[in-house]
């Protein structure tokens, strides 16, 4: 049977461009992989070399999974899996019997050329392009990518601020900026910016990020004079109108905001006008005809005033960010410079830089640099592409299509929920409607069968989106991402199965009925045969995840909360960090006290001293209370005095070690001292947390930071990448998984409980006005938009409306994602406030009211493969401290140099001083040193002059000299001896010494030499001499050892 989506390779006409719409659970990755395998296996598709195909995914995990799947498909073909073979036969023109061999060849090719097996995230693909062109952008190719721009901007801003001082240009600029911010943003109860630096910095961060995503230049218009003039006009108009009203004798309309406007105008508090409504006119409507014209005039004036306010809104919106942009412009260069100096690139800048560089001309250059031309692109999750990413990709894809390549992009606009990360599902939607590629036609196809969910789940989704949503005022929004017209068929054999239930509960913050409902459901589901691990609870935000986790915790259910994985919120981490803080700064009483009252010490005392936790609590609290004003503060001094045993058992060594141990070693010693893995094991095991802490410290050291204080700051910094601090949730734990809908994207669970609260209001941030000049940043609110501001024929409320719609569509898409995660059963719990309607109007609570539950449960089979046992070693490495010897590197260097000089001297005949000078000069040159030639030559000359020494440097008959020769003893130890003199009867080993005299050690070494030589030359006497070259300023000495 032919594949409905993928045509047979013989029918593939290149260039080809397919856009595949794939609803949740419809086998999108399956189809994408199949396409990949088809292209690889086919002998009919051109340019299908491994290195000419690129699959793009949106996460590292997805990339890894896709690689595995591709290899998996090929292996299944090799092993003759009938289902896979059938599928491949649909799309590849090869005889079944050849496929096995072909698959084997391909797997070998892939594994032999694994670097060319390209499944990458879009970021890593763009990074490799950037890397290949880094030098053009002013970076060396070893740059580091940062995922956040915060640190760099803070640093750059700090540099910028240094020039802000009385009388400086930057101070003047900042003065103007703060003045504008305050004047233009002033509202009655808004907070005054005492310390505007932080405020400006945080705005700059956002602006930087925002502009980065557009990749366009920012346009800065100075409308201050327009703003001034429009204010004057408003002032005049308001005063006149108010007087007119007053004198008109007409009854004032109390709903009208004119008096408030007047107040604000007089107080120069214009921005506050923007929060006012202007629907009501200043006077009550009159019936008498003779004064009707008066009324009309007032209304007309009022309209003029509101139009003026509308104009003010335009300028206000356009100038709101002007002061920030002014600073931004000033320090933009600093950011660039800092980036280059530190060789770091913010991930967002990669696309921006490529965009600057990439055009139709340079695309081949890019391919040349990255090493190959990509002819065939496969893109997953197309709806999550951002505009700047797509701009870059588009040019590369177009170039490939023009050379007979292909694009196969798969996505689901209904699952476009990453708007906040600048992903834009509209890119896919627009491409569905209009082909922008010049080199190929676009075929739009759709996957119609749902492979994930049972029928009742599909039915539920149809009901919500195709019926309910289509009949509300949100229909248009639903249409935008395709929520109202998708096709989803039930997979064969799954008809009539599954369960969906909707419960709407009243919002009751005191009694929390949803809490009870969730606990009941988890109880009921497990009783019916599900494992806790089969259940996922999805919510729309992190706070709710935390809240639900709390309920499960209180209800005694095991859970994995994806918003509580940060180890820093675990108590034990807090205690360890407190101990580190105390070790870093022993005067930190709070940290010491935190640790002393904590579980670690309590359990250690119980284990080591058999003190009960209650006694321990009491003792510690008494101690702290008694020393509340002790002269022995900091606390640890009193602790040391009162509890010497505990101090010496737990703290004393750590206290000392913190002075010299590297961070990781110190942490390990803390773990060992308190035997943490053993102490926190079993039911309330902290194994994952503890391992994570060590792992983080190890990784932290890799950033070039290896100090306690730096680590503490890192641990306390809430902004430091949370995913780094997250525990690795085990794949097969039997615990309810609690996560946000965003986190659940791409996943499927047997049972989903979805907890929904009322729709959140659109809280707009920055708006972008994008035109040919570049982009302008706008400040808009709903109330401002209501004034219908206009800028160069662009209605600003359209911009507002578009953003609002995008936000709402994201919300609807998010619902769709949540509703399509369940495989067998879904429970939607809506918690509705009195005045809330969305999303509750969409929920078919009557059609899907609680009903009899299905008997059959579709559990997940968990726990494939064997678990590797692990062991926590608690053995401390004992260091033996040798007597401290000065490092004297320079001295040793000089000694080594003198040894090298001597190594070149066999005998001292002829002009030794001249020879010495030659040797020293050559060695200086060759080694890049600059030791004083005369001084060393004189030293050695006087060394050779000494009678007892001269003897060993004389050339004699039969005498053989070995300088720096290696000798091996019977245990394999290697000795490099300075000078071994082989005479007829005797062997002499001479060891040169420079610097201080440590006779005992030297003698020991020489004896070893003698023993080795005795074994090699058993028939000769062996003598050892130590030649002190520069003892007491040229007072050379020989020490003989026999």
């Amino acid at each position: 049977m032919p594949d409905r989506i993928l045509e047979k390779d013989s029918d593939v006409h290149l260039p080809a461009c397919i856009l595949l719409k794939a609803s949740a659970g419809s086998g999108k990755t399956h189809t994408l992989t199949k396409r990949f395998v088809q292209f690889l296996l086919s002998k009919r598709i051109d340019k299908n070399n491994l290195r000419n195909i690129l699959a793009i995914t949106f996460s590292n995990n997805a990339a890894r999974e896709m690689k595995e799947r591709t290899l998996g498909w090929l292996k299944e073909i090799y092993f003759g899996d009938p289902e896979t073979l059938n599928q491949i036969e649909e799309v590849v023109s090869q005889r079944r019997e050849n496929l096995k061999e072909e698959a084997e060849r391909l797997i070998d090719t892939i594994l032999d050329n694994y670097t060319d097996f390209q499944v990458k995230t879009i970021d890593s693909y763009m990074t490799s392009i950037f890397k290949a062109s880094a030098i053009e952008f002013g970076y060396t190719p070893d740059f580091e990518i940062t995922l956040t721009n915060k640190r760099l901007i803070t640093y750059a801003f700090d540099l910028f601020l240094r020039d802000v001082r009385e009388g400086s240009y930057k101070a003047e600029l900042m003065e103007k900026v703060t003045k504008t911010i305050i004047r233009e943003n002033r509202k009655g109860d808004s907070a005054f910016l005492w310390n505007p630096a932080n405020n400006i910095l945080s705005e700059l961060e956002t602006i930087y990020k925002k502009l980065t995503t557009t990749g366009k230049r920012v346009v800065m218009d100075d409308f201050s004079s327009d703003l001034k003039s429009i204010k004057e006009r408003i002032r005049e108009k308001t005063e006149n109108l108010d007087a007119f009203v007053e004198n008109s004798g007409l009854e004032r309309n109390s709903k009208c905001t004119l008096p408030k406007i007047l107040g604000f105008v007089r107080g120069d508090r214009f921005p506050e006008i923007l929060d006012l409504g202007v629907k009501s006119v200043p006077v009550k409507k009159v019936k008498k005809k003779d004064i009707a014209s008066l009324y009309d005039s007032i209304v007309s004036d009022w309209m003029e005033l509101t139009a003026l306010i509308g104009e003010y809104v335009t300028y206000f919106a356009l100038t709101f960010y002007y002061p920030y942009l002014k600073v931004y412009k000033e320090f933009e260069e600093t950011i660039e410079r800092v980036n280059r100096q530190q060789s770091t690139v913010y991930i967002g800048d990669i696309n921006r830089n490529i965009k600057k560089y990439l055009d139709e001309e340079t695309a081949p250059d890019i391919y040349f640099r990255i090493g190959e031309t990509i002819y065939h692109y496969l893109i997953d999750e197309f709806q999550d592409t951002s505009p700047v990413q797509w701009t870059n990709m588009f040019l590369l894809v177009e170039n490939s299509l023009s050379q007979g390549g292909s694009l196969f992009a798969v996505g689901d606009t209904k699952q476009g929920i990453y708007g906040f990360r600048d992903a834009d599902y509209r890119i896919m939607k627009e491409l569905e409607k209009e082909n922008r590629f010049l080199s190929a036609e676009i075929q739009v196809k759709e996957l119609e069968t749902n492979y994930r969910s049972l029928e009742r789940i599909i039915e539920f989704n149809d009901k919500v989106f195709k019926e309910r949503l289509s009949s509300t005022d949100y229909k248009d929004l639903g249409d935008r991402s395709g929520l109202t017209d998708f096709i989803q068929k039930v997979r064969k054999g799954k008809e009539g199965l599954g369960y969906s239930e909707v419960t709407i509960l009243p919002k009751d913050r005191e009694n929390l009925p949803e809490r009870r409902k969730i606990l009941e459901l988890t109880e009921e589901l497990t009783q019916r045969g599900y494992n806790l691990g089969d259940i996922a609870i999805l919510t729309s935000d992190n706070d709710t995840v935390v809240q639900v986790s709390e309920w499960l915790n209180e209800g005694g259910r095991q859970f994995i909360s994806y918003s509580s994985l940060d180890v820093r919120i675990r108590r034990i981490t807090g205690e360890i960090v407190s101990l580190l803080k105390f070790l870093d700064s022993p005067v930190d009483d709070l940290s010491f006290m935190t640790f002393c009252t904590g579980l670690i010490l309590k359990r250690s005392l119980k284990r080591d001293f058999d003190i009960s936790e209650e006694d321990c609590d009491r003792t510690v609290h008494e101690f702290l209370f008694n020393n509340r004003e002790s002269e022995d503060r900091p606390f640890y001094i009193a602790f040391q005095r009162e509890f010497p045993h505990y101090w010496s058992r737990y703290f004393s060594m750590l206290f000392k070690e913190s002075g010299y141990l590297p961070l990781y070693d110190l942490a390990v010693n803390i773990f060992n001292t308190f035997d943490l893995f053993e102490t926190f094991t079993g039911k309330d095991s902290e194994e994952a947390t503890l391992v994570k802490i060590l792992e983080i410290i190890k990784n932290f050291e890799d950033t070039g930071k290896n100090s306690l204080r730096d680590f503490i700051l890192y641990a306390l910094d809430e902004d430091s990448g949370d995913s780094e601090w997250n525990i690795d949730a085990p794949e097969r734990s039997n615990a309810v998984q609690v996560m946000t809908i965003h986190k659940s994207k791409g996943l499927g669970f047997p049972v989903v409980i979805l907890l929904l609260y009322g729709e959140k209001h659109f809280r707009p941030g920055y708006f972008l006005l994008d035109d040919d000049d570049g982009v302008r940043l706008l400040k808009l609110t709903g109330k401002m938009a209501a004034f219908d501001p206009l800028f160069r024929n662009i209605r600003l409320n359209d911009i507002y409306g578009e953003e609002e719609a995008k936000y709402k569509v994201n919300g609807l898409n998010s619902l769709y994602v949540g509703f399509t995660r369940a495989k067998s059963e879904i429970y939607v719990i809506g918690v509705k406030g009195e005045r809330e309607s969305k999303p509750f109007t969409l929920l078919p609570d009557e059609e899907f009211a609680p009903a009899e539950k299905p008997l059959e449960v579709f559990k997940e089979v968990i726990g494939e493969g064997e678990v590797a046992p692990i062991y926590h070693c608690n053995k401390k490495i004992e260091h033996t401290f040798e007597k401290r010897e000065s490092i004297h590197f320079m001295e040793r260097g000089r000694g080594d140099f003198i040894h090298s000089v001597l190594c070149h001297i066999l005998f001292t005949g002829g002009n030794i001083k001249h020879d010495l000078r030659d040797i020293i000069e050559t060695l200086n040159r060759v080694k890049g040193e600059d030791y004083p030639v005369s001084k060393i030559a004189d030293l050695l000359k006087s060394f050779f002059k000494r009678e007892e020494i001269r003897e060993y440097f004389l050339e004699k008959e039969g005498r053989v000299v070995m300088n720096e020769e290696e000798f091996l003893d019977s245990r394999g130890n290697l000795y490099r001896m300075d000078r071994v003199i082989k005479d007829k009867e005797k062997i002499t080993v001479m060891d040169y010494k420079t610097g201080s005299e440590r006779l005992n050690a030297y003698e020991r070494q020489l004896r070893q030499y003698i023993n080795v030589l005795k074994e090699i030359y058993p028939d000769k006497a062996v003598e050892g001499v130590i030649a002190f070259i520069d003892m007491n300023r040229g007072n050379h000495r020989l020490h003989r050892l026999k």
Binding site: T115, S128, R162, A171, M174, I727, E866, A868, R884
Partner: protein, 954 residues
Amino acid sequence: MMVSAFFISSKTNLIARTLSCLPEKRRDYSSYIVVFPGKRPSHFIRKALAGRERQSVIPPRIFSMDEFVDFVCEGVLKVVTRKIGAIDSVAFLYDIHREIDNSFGGDHFMTADSFIPLGMKMFGDLEELCIEGIAPGSVKGIEHMALDFQPEQSLQNLRSLASFYDSFYKRLSAGNCSTRSSRYRIVSENIHECDLTGYDKIIFAGFFALTGAEKKIFKGLMDIDNTLFLFQQGRGIERMLKELALSPVREKDDTDSAAPEIKFIKSPDTHGQTLALSKILVDDMKESILYDERTLIMIPSSDTLFPLVHQSLSLLGKENYNISIGYPLYRTPVYSFLNHLMELIVSMEGGRIYLPDYLKFVLHPYTKNIFYNGNASITRIVFHTIEEILLETRTKTFLTLEDIEEDNTILDAIFTRLRGVREFKRVVSSREALKKHLTDIHSGTIRKFLKFKDISDFAVKGIEVLSFIYDHSTAPLHPYFHPFTENFIKSLHTLSKSLVGDISFNERRGYFNLARRYLMTCHTPFEGLPVRGVQVLGFLETRNLSFDRVFILDSNEGVLPAVRKEDTLIPLMARNYLGLPDYSQMESVTEYYLGNLIEGAKEVRLFFIEKDKKEKSRFIEKMIWARQKKEGERDETGYIQTIEYSVSLTRETPKPVGKSNHVVKFLREFKFSASSLDTYLRCPLHFYYRYVLNIQEKAELTGDIEVSEIGSFVHDVLKNYFEEYVNRGLLTIGDISNNRLMVVTDSLFKETYGDDVTGAAWLLKHQIKTHLKEFFQFYQRPLVKDLDVEIKGIEERIEVKAGHGKNDFHLKGFLDRVETRNGRLVIVDYKTSADKKKYSIDFKKLSLNDRDTWEKCVKTLQLPFYMLLYSKKYKKDVKDIDAMFLLTGQSAISREIEHSFSPAILEISERYDIMEEIIFKLLEEIIDVDKEFEPTVNRKVNCKYCEFINVCGQ
């Protein structure tokens, strides 16, 4: 002529086979030369030789290929040049860079610090061209490469590279220098001139993937009778033999060992691998399985070293393993120490240091543990006392070192503290001695880095600082401190003697950028000698060695193989055109040696990490695939184990703390303030920690201006301004003078932040002045104009004893301002924030009888508490007292910034009575022995920023 060449199986032990080529029972093997590709096998063959001969001998000359080339170059061809590495070469390249037109990167790399990393990268590519024997003309001719398109910019870069290539080696030679590659080239081009016939035998063992120069050398040596080649079977070797036109004698595999038993272990992180390895080790030890040098633990990624040492190797004991790997210097605390020093210097303003960075540096363990007369504790006390004093006074964020050294308050405090400790009493004789100690530390570290003549001078000073720390602090107690420091010093020494040594920068920052980037490339070698016990080796160190048991950690892509496609300035197509090896050839080297290592073993465990970006090595995929094919079974779960940690995310709820009689007694005497009561209301447990145990968070000097600091500053300005008007009669408009306000503000600012403020502090000053002016203009003046205002008190401290019923309590408070307005008493409290809600009391929902409503409805008790204090002290009826917050933090100043306790005079008594009742009920509750200190009921709000969060276990 027949070349002596043998081809041994991958199972054969190459070391043993090489040894068999040396005659037995000789005392002197110095006429034999053995050459391996790398260094490590030399230790093994020496050990094997000693084991065979069982007596001392003169060993053969055993070289790595690099050493052999140096030996021939210097010893045979007598080429006397300075062998330089990347950093020296950069000096030549930088000169060329500045001279040629259209150089790499346009104008981006014109300064030395920006060019150096690029130069080092370029050096790698040039060396490759050189060792492969590519003629400069070929690089120039690259534009004739047949392409369908013209990658103009890339070709331009290659033309530029060709110019570098052309000039670099010429200049090198003119400068009497050589590099590794140029030496290979010299030897390869002159190999026929080399007389090596004096040696009995020259053995080349275990070579694979030869460079162009090596091929030439080998071909040249094939003509000499005494040369012997030993090649080992492995993927790709045949191609190499073909290139050499060599047909070695194929030896039979005489080992009868079966294929190794291979297992794979998947881990979520580095530690999982070491923990799983520990389990294997500990189980084996129980079974008395011996671990010796036949066991290998390979760590291709050096960051696994210390986790391995602590989590696994510690089980064996340090006598039973040795480590040979290069460990990056930047991972060490020594780097971190230097980095702190560099950060401190960079953040300086003129001659003044930035205190947060100063404290970070002096409180670094190496600095604060510098000995004073042999005692490290004294310096710790010195710097922690300095920290305390600076925190307390907190006046400036920039100071000179002399300001600190000569500050008598600091010296007195340190001296007094030290004299208070018996053991230090005798050691510290005087303040002068302390001052000298402090100055010595500054001079040995910070002052050293204040000025540099050039790179060389910088490096020398770096050495001096490290030597100072080495000689004077406890740092060397860490056994690795010595090797770390020694290698730092070596690296800095190389820098100081390098050809870039005389380059100087305009800013100190330039030196630090260079140092950071250069030190990033430096390593400390763990040499792993003598060869004894379990061998812990990096990947390169395992080449040509055989082990029975092999544990390979970090078997991940990017690590095994470590080759990166983009790691070159020469694009792939150009590489192929020039005949340079590309990434695939480099990857095959890893595969060859890894393959032989595994083939030669009996038991192999491969550990890999699978998470996020980390995926298992292709070699694991290959092994799995081979096994699947062999077993005819796709399922791989039988031989892949997975590491999982146990996780429990459950949490304990905070427990209340009971009251002892002592505590109750203490509380009865306690002087309660409004804020202590507010604290109790929000969280009794917090009150306990803060007020009963008297614990506070340690302040940190961050350089950031805290909100509380702004508050105190504004309070101080208003206090300083108004205190002279207390009881001076009615205020007049003239009393509200902007000029005087500015004088007061300026002088206080100078006192607090110094007279040359910059950055955030300057902005703050500017804002404070602007806003206080507005405060005067829009609030203070209209007030004085509209009402008769007389100031009765400024920052008045009031203490009273009061109670309801049986208990009396000590109550205290500071009243910002008390005044009369048209004769009516008003207590004013300034707030620098703008948010009314933070100070409100919701009387509508507040119920005296419902304790739960108190916390919810009362944001602060401050105003009624002050009213209580005032009315008690002055015996005033509260109905005659108004109390209000002045929200000076609101951006628009007007009378609306007033936030009164009771806007309606008539309601004052009613409201006050409720609040007074609540205050006393709370006080009674606090001293009630049966009432425990409970945790807050509103955890979401109150715990988020609480300093006691870890004490509670939230």
